[in-house]
Subunit: 552 residues, 2 copies
């Protein structure tokens, strides 16, 4: 029987598959090796927390006031001696102690017997609130979509007096409500002391703003600094009340503000290493990470945050000159670009619908926001920023294909998303006009300076334009205004939005702020919102980076 | 001017007053010196707690059942693996874990992640119950008269998994209900382990009863031993759930039972010293004491308990031959007799009404119980027992006046309180007939043996006789039956009363038990009753001291 020729086509395909598989396995091995080193590096740069003992400044009454933020106001009702000098019982149950500022850390209190013998355990509930409404809104039955346990109410049984008790969980708050839940009527007890061990990794006091700075800008900067300081713990947290962890998006913005304020670049470095160390086997980053019980990621593929990692790394290298870290983490940045190529269509438009099926595409807490323009914009922006990083590191050859792809996406965006008639960028099948869409078309450079100015100026008069839902998106809007040279508009937008929170009594900037809906919550219950949120601290960055706009 | 003669009568009175004042001051000084030494002695005999790790035996369902004690029954519903092998969430919230026996100590549990990443704190409530009804009765709004904090429900916030958590307060329980109060829906967690560090100062296993002993008596003895064991911690506690402390009345009965079971006489010694060390400046004892933060008494003058201290001391010396302790504490016993002389009227009747104005005169948890006969009886009993103690110690001369006073009181009691027509002893202005009154007239020896038998036999058919309100008084009733030689009646009474608790599923004997009113509570809320109570353990004493009555 004659020999049959082998099926070369099949063999070739088989060889290809084996090669890809081996490469993939090697890639995974490489990441595994890298990740251990990266995590080790992250640990090396773990900051020592600064601890400061804080004392209450007085007692407040939480009072209904339709004019106040969320309908509740804290009214000064005297000194803390009121609490220390009287017995604590049913009558003063619900007293609210004010620490005068937002704090993060651990609450300790000391109880003493005032009269008679303690002949039964006593029971107290402490509710910690960042804003007055948290102390006035019943938590149960809990309607929220996140864990009920985020709410900071803790019940304590005390069996022996005197007692000094530390609430085990870390809390973030300004006010603490103390409720009497039970005690023997045959004795009196009282508070001898309440104190708070406040923590932050901030060690630096930033310089004051120029004397010419308007008062409202000074206030915004001050509150922004406190917000950032509170979120800077052993990582950049998103919020010290909630979620208490490292998110790429928040880290990016915190790092921006940090460069212009607390200059704790080692914390940025630690977070970049930790995120890299917790990447998936395929090298794609997870959007968020926890430090305890040991650093680990929540499996969370968030499209826009992967891209922003690259931007944050580039910013870090630029700000510090620390090329070594840039080179160490370069494989991660390079890897994230796979996301861009994977979803680039033939015509240079990102297949944002497919991406949304496969990823969490976030951009903002805003129902109904169309993601086409933002996806297109952030992809271009990331390609450009990553190429800039490559240039800083001498790695252009690694990604020589990037400028061409960026240009292709940019041209396609201009062709498909720019509506010449209105001078606005549109997004999606319904040609939605949004602040987010304009912002990302501007930041990506799709819009020329003239187009950018035209679009951004037109936006406020577009009645159905989708507004930012949270300070996070508002940041990109202000950045776009500055990028377009619309300085006065940038100043006005920042002053109105963050100044609006200031006028409503903010001690720290809120995770969610819609001036028209103060009870807005992405989690179906506004008390579970974070009221000290990293992504809201960026006025610090704007005000201090652009003194010519804001400090005059 | 002629010299005036001094007013010798006045001078004499003045001298008397000074002498008395100096003597009083010296007496106080003596007590002060004694008390330090007594407390030191108490500390020397502090037992080391035995710790045993206990594991749950299964899961139960708490089910409504009008035939069950207090209307609730625990029905076995499978092994603990049910809990360990499944995720803990809203669906199995309220699961009740059964440890199979009453335990006192500290609960520790370990939680683990089963699926996904814990991205929020979680919140659990654990409710510990001695009896099924405690797990089925809402605690709030709390109607009870004692501290709400006695109820054993504890809320825990857990921020990081895996976690091993120990509930800080000591609890006493058989069942623990676990409620889910909140967690992130993006992960599953479960219980890896629940364990209990059970404590007692008991180290001895008492011998089994005679083989001839009826099953119900064996059960009563078994449950009595558990009750006593659970109450024997670093002092004789009244109840490990509530009040968790040393009361003279409970100590007296616990010491009785201890002599015939666990033989931890050092614990008795410790408690006698501690109570003496915490006497008032005038030498009168306080009724109860706490060990923490340092041994201290609750200022509580309880008439009958002061007397029972003397009886307990005599019993201790008699049981152990430890005369040294008897001599050490003799000044205390002698001092308590002042109470007898202070309230003895001219005719040998105690002024029980005056005593009730100036003291807490307890005897029983029974509204409407007239205290005249019990006061008269316990005073005579105490005089006799204290004189017996004096004889053991060779101290008769110290209190040579006692036998005469005892006889005077006894004669007066017989004259005034014995109703020849009915053959019953009466009490108070309304001539109340009570079990307590008969019991104390018998124990004091006011009743002759024939009178005692007649009265105690007549009692059950007296329709308006005041019955015992709690096992504490029931003890004295059974003791009186035995004292009168009514062996069969004693056995029957003990079997019916304590056996009634057994039949209703008691794991330990209850503080309060009225067969006709299972929800009875001196504290206006039956779940705050103690269901493992020292003063209810005395069947152990009766059964083991009188085998000829009970073990056949």
């Amino acid at each position: 029987m004659p020999l049959k020729l082998p099926n070369y086509k099949l063999l070739f395909l088989l060889a290809c598959i084996i090669t890809i598989a081996v490469n993939n396995a090697q890639a995974q091995d490489i990441y595994a090796a890298y990740r251990q080193g990266w995590l080790k590096k992250a640990e090396e740069f773990k900051p020592v927390l600064q601890e400061t003992i804080k004392k209450p400044v007085g007692i407040v009454k939480i009072t209904k006031d339709t004019a106040a933020f969320q309908g509740w106001k804290a009214i000064n009702s005297g000194g803390i001696a009121q609490l220390y000098n009287s017995s604590f019982n049913k009558k003063n149950s619900g007293i609210v102690v004010d620490f005068g500022e937002h704090l993060t850390g651990y609450c300790t209190f000391t109880l003493k017997t005032l009269r008679g013998d303690m002949d039964a355990p006593l029971r107290l509930k402490l509710t910690f609130g960042e804003v007055p409404s948290e102390l006035a809104t019943p938590f149960d039955p809990y309607p929220g979509s996140l864990s009920r346990a985020w709410l900071q109410d803790e019940t304590v049984t005390v069996t022996v007096l005197p007692a000094t008790i530390t609430i085990p969980r870390r809390v973030a708050f300004r006010y603490v409500k103390i409720e009497w839940l039970g005690a023997s009527s045959s004795f009196d007890f009282g508070f001898a002391d309440i104190r708070f061990n406040a923590t932050t990794s901030v060690t630096v006091t930033p310089p004051p703003l120029a004397a010419t700075t308007p008062a409202i800008i000074k206030d915004i900067d001050r509150v922004g600094l406190i917000t950032l300081k509170e979120c800077m713990q052993t990582v950049y947290e998103d919020g010290p009340k909630r979620d208490q962890r490292l998110w790429i998006g928040d880290t990016y913005l915190e790092a921006l503000a940090n460069v212009y304020s607390f200059k704790n670049n080692d914390l940025t470095k630690r977070c970049l290493y930790m995120l890299a160390g917790l990447a998936n086997d395929d090298g794609i980053l997870n959007a968020n990470a926890f430090e305890l019980p040991q650093p680990h990621a929540q499996k969370s593929r968030l499209f826009d945050y992967c891209f922003l990692y690259n931007v944050a790394l580039k910013d870090y290298v630029e700000a510090t000159g620390d090329k070594q870290t840039g080179l160490d983490l370069w494989p991660v940045a390079k890897k994230q670009l796979d996301i861009a190529t994977k979803y680039t269509g033939e015509e240079g438009m990102m297949d944002y619908q497919k991406a949304q099926k496969e990823w969490w595409v976030f951009f903002d807490w805003k129902d109904g926001l169309d993601k086409q323009a933002p996806v297109q914009g952030i992809t271009i922006y990331t390609l450009n920023q990553t190429y800039a990083l490559a240039k800083l590191l001498g790695k252009q050859n690694d990604i020589a294909w990037v400028p061409a792809l960026a240009k292709k996406l940019k041209d396609a965006a201009h062709k498909n998303l720019y509506d010449k008639a209105s001078g606005l960028f549109v997004s999606g099948v319904n040609k939605q006009v949004s602040y987010g869409g304009q912002a990302w078309m501007v930041l990506s450079g799709v819009a020329s300076k003239a187009e950018a100015q035209k679009a951004l100026k037109a936006l406020p008069s577009v009645s159905n334009a989708v507004h930012p839902g949270a300070p996070y998106m508002f940041h990109y809007y202000v950045a776009a205004l500055i990028e377009s040279g619309l300085k006065a508009e940038a100043k006005e937008a920042l002053t109105n939005y963050w100044g609006g929170m200031i006028k409503k009594g903010a001690d720290t900037f809120w995770e969610v702020y819609d001036p028209t809906d103060e009870l807005k919550s992405p989690y179906k219950f506004f008390p579970v919102n974070s009221y000290c949120h990293a992504w809201s601290c960026t006025p610090v960055y704007f005000i201090r980076k652009y003194p010519e706009i804001f400090q005059r």
